[in-house]
């Protein structure tokens, strides 16, 4: 089993996520440069956080059109598990793999802190080591994390249970106070209809080992390692 991490100019969480993937999978991922048009034959693709192309035009817009993304889109559409974290989530919405868009935070401020997330789906390749309804603590660090979509798309997301994580209070309840960026319905992470593509603003790789101060992110990588080994 193997994974690929896509690296753009301005990615800055690519090495962090590579460490988490190697710890879970026992094998370092391929680091694939954005200008490559070939992607190794992998079981998992990760689009990492950062500020690809300096967030020019819109966050993720330039990266979504870089050569390697054509292949990422084709593989994801063919069923390869694909995870986009933070800027990676923005890239996956911009290239059409996930619905909606990440707008400027409602506060207009860059938000960088740990947040509580409620796990809405524990039956996916990304989340099978969590429990549904579990509250986990994961850091966010973004300026454009305000999830928005039109009412019809939002209804479809809810009806199809495509919301993977929501920002919540420590007891799991949802409120405006626990929403760090103004996202619709406190949405922190969404799945595609097939359930093999996940985008999320919080950074599981930043709390994936005790040395970092927490391990709530580790089950995501354990889930993926188990899913792609099967």
């Amino acid at each position: 089993m193997s994974a690929a991490v896509i690296v753009f100019p301005g990615s800055n969480c690519d090495r962090d996520v590579a460490v988490s993937l190697e710890a879970a999978m026992g094998r370092a991922p391929y680091m694939v440069w954005h200008g490559d048009s070939e992607l190794p034959d992998v079981d998992l693709i990760v689009v990492p956080g950062g500020f690809s192309y300096g967030d020019y035009l819109r966050s993720g817009a330039m990266a979504a059109n870089s050569p390697v993304m054509r292949e990422v889109v084709a593989r994801a559409n063919a069923g390869t598990p694909t995870l986009g974290i933070c800027n990676g989530f923005q890239v996956l919405t911009e290239c059409g793999l996930l619905p909606g868009v990440l707008m400027r935070n409602a506060s207009l401020k860059f938000v960088c802190r740990d947040v509580d997330l409620r796990v809405e789906r524990a039956d996916t390749v990304f989340t099978r080591h969590y429990r549904e309804g579990q509250v986990i603590r994961i850091p966010v660090a973004h300026h454009d994390g305000n999830y928005f979509t039109d009412p019809d798309t939002l209804k479809a997301l809810e009806d199809n249970r495509q919301v993977a994580f929501r920002y919540c209070a420590p007891d799991g309840s949802l409120s405006e106070d626990s929403n760090p960026n103004g996202s619709l319905a406190n949405i922190a992470g969404v799945l595609n209809a097939g359930g093999n593509v996940l985008g999320m603003m919080p950074h599981p790789e930043r709390l994936a080992e005790a040395l970092l101060g927490g391990t709530d992110g580790a089950p995501m990588f354990a889930s993926l390692a188990e899913a792609v080994a099967a």
Partner: protein
């Protein structure tokens, strides 16, 4: 010829940046500012000679890159 593209947020999409500008304008003492929406303005130099074909091409550019049509509208002016 030159294409001028305006990219604006769709009606109904919250614009916190526009709101912040609005508040700052009021803070500076400008009365009667009813609403502010922030957008983008992009100029493109083209080698095209047919304005209609140029406009169609720029519309394609807007759909594929310049605007995110989930939240944004665009308008195109062609100057020969």
């Amino acid at each position: 010829m030159k294409a001028r593209v305006h990219v604006t947020l769709k009606n109904g999409v919250l614009d916190p940046q526009g709101k912040a500008i609005h508040q700052s304008l009021e803070g500076l003492g400008f009365d009667g500012v009813e609403d502010v929406r922030q957008g983008k303005f992009i100029e493109i130099e083209l080698s095209d000679s047919d304005p209609d074909a140029a406009k169609a091409r720029v519309a394609e550019m807007c759909e594929q890159l310049l605007a995110n049509t989930v939240i944004e509208d665009y308008s195109i002016e062609i100057e020969a």
